[in-house]
Subunit: 322 residues, 2 copies
């Protein structure tokens, strides 16, 4: 196996063409935005998680699994659109964001429209168990963003709050994807719980990797340097480094985040200190621990192509360059 | 009976105290926003519709009816918050809007949070039929707003498009409230359909009344004069008047909306012409026709206090001053 999508190529292709054809609307403006969304699709990690965890259960893949993949992808798309409004981002996946092109107005409405499509898709087909997984993560994600919003203002994020935020903001959706996948085949509660835990730990590793990518002198990504610091986002490398610094240095580091986030030299100096204080290695070690925890949960299931692919996926998550 | 809430006073009181106690969160910022929302509650027309249509069926009111009322009120609150982002409104119900106080960020997230609460409330109690009614209107509302957004830009709203917009934007939610109320008692499909149609026609009358209130020389409201025109919103009085005007005058009226919407004298002159061309009387007559249609649908049910109250409510909708 070369890539984690190898065992689910056919699933993903069927999913994609179906997804494209359902995302149409008789309302011209809405249809234009939906086509634009389909064009700038992401790496489809979430539908892949649904199909792989469904196959992991050893039970047959059905229409329900395909609907589950559509549910999570619609929901993920809706929340990305709203996130871009929340963060006022002009760019998403290398394209202009919906709010950049159609203002906040258009972005809020299209996000709501997609959420309603999630709902109706599930309710019409009586996929109530799948809907439960999805709706818990909508709640968690909005809570996570609000928690971050509140804490960011005061720059007082300690490590435990950081984990709470990323669990809600990122890991809960990955847990839902896995829950949806396993539940879609009718797997038992213990199996669903095991894959949910796999997804949760994977999501933690995923977000820490995201935060590490911001320290680009250690990774060659297309992202601008230190953007999290510029946006006053407290991520694990910085939080750990602040814990290690003596009180005087801590004060000065916080001042840089608060007052000098627009001065590239100061931001660079701060990032160098974060590295020197062990923040980056600590975050890397933590990420690997979460990845190992994720892989552990796969042992609930017998060996299979899907299990192997999920292991590969976990490796991809901690090694990805973007 | 003096007021349409007379037969459901106890229901509404129980609803309100329950609603207040469930809208709490351990996340401090979220909790502050939720308390603020509870304080500035509206006229609770939508919960009243749920309780009255439930009673109209003649079957016993249960916990499901109370959950139905919470579902529609949560959903309505979520969409109002998102609407204020969409319209960039600083004021809602005489208080500052959520986006005015907590920026678009906070407003988008709290709206999403409330939508997730709607979902979870319904899914946890297996109220799937109620959820179906609610989710259809989330879809319709976002479609209606997007349709309006598109058409408003080109100022080419004809009467049929206007009806399509207000049906989606306003009437669909009232139809859902009624559907939820009747379905909550386990009424049969014909009864649910009859009250849905009542709600839909009532909602049409409600929105036309709203649009008429903008012509305040004919009503004493607290709203500023001609705000719809200032915001380039094409409503029924204006659409009808444009149909009646000769081509030259039509052109000049459209120019006023496009170019002179910030000049109070021009807006006033336009509104006077709308009245003179019969736009206001036409909209009033149309509103009354919808109200009559709504009341007709009540004849599916035997006489009762609830039926009488719904008739009163319909009269209130077309006579209200704000």
């Amino acid at each position: 196996m070369k890539h984690y999508t190898d065992p689910i190529q056919a699933d993903l292709q069927a999913f994609e063409s179906h997804f494209k054809s359902t995302l149409r609307s008789p309302i011209p403006l809405l249809d234009i935005i939906l086509r634009y969304l389909v064009k700038r699709k992401g790496k489809q990690l979430r539908p892949a998680l649904v199909f792989l965890t469904a196959r992991l259960t050893g039970l047959p893949i059905t229409e329900r699994t395909h609907r589950g993949a559509a549910l999570v992808e619609l929901m993920h798309t809706a929340t990305l659109i709203h996130d871009d409004v929340v963060d006022d981002s002009p760019i998403r996946r290398g394209f202009f964001s919906i709010n950049a092109l159609w203002k906040n107005k258009g972005a809020v409405l299209v996000g709501d429209y997609l959420l309603s499509r999630v709902l109706l898709l599930a309710v019409e087909h009586q996929d109530h168990d799948l809907l439960y997984h999805v709706s818990s993560s909508v709640k968690a994600m909005s809570e996570g963003e609000l928690l971050q919003l509140e804490k960011a203002r005061r720059l007082d994020i300690v490590e435990s709050v950081y984990y709470e935020i990323i669990e809600k903001k990122t890991a809960s959706l990955m847990a839902s994807c896995c829950g949806v996948g396993a539940a879609s085949t009718g797997a038992d509660a213990a199996a669903v719980e095991a894959v949910r835990r796999f997804g949760l730990a994977l999501g933690m590793a995923f977000q820490i990797r995201d935060d590490l990518l911001d320290y680009r002198q250690y990774d060659q990504t297309g992202k601008p340097n230190g953007i999290d610091i510029k946006e006053h986002k407290m991520t694990l490398p910085l939080i750990y480094a602040l814990q290690q610094a003596d009180p005087a240095e801590r004060k000065s580091m916080i001042r840089t985040v608060k007052k000098d986030a627009d001065r590239p030299d100061r931001v660079q100096a701060l990032m160098d200190r974060v590295v020197a204080l062990g923040g980056v290695s600590y975050a890397e070690a933590t990420m690997h621990r979460y990845k190992e925890e994720a892989v552990e949960h796969l042992n609930h299931f017998p060996d299979s192509d899907a299990k192997e692919a999920l292991r590969l996926l976990a490796e991809f998550v901690v090694a990805r360059k973007k």
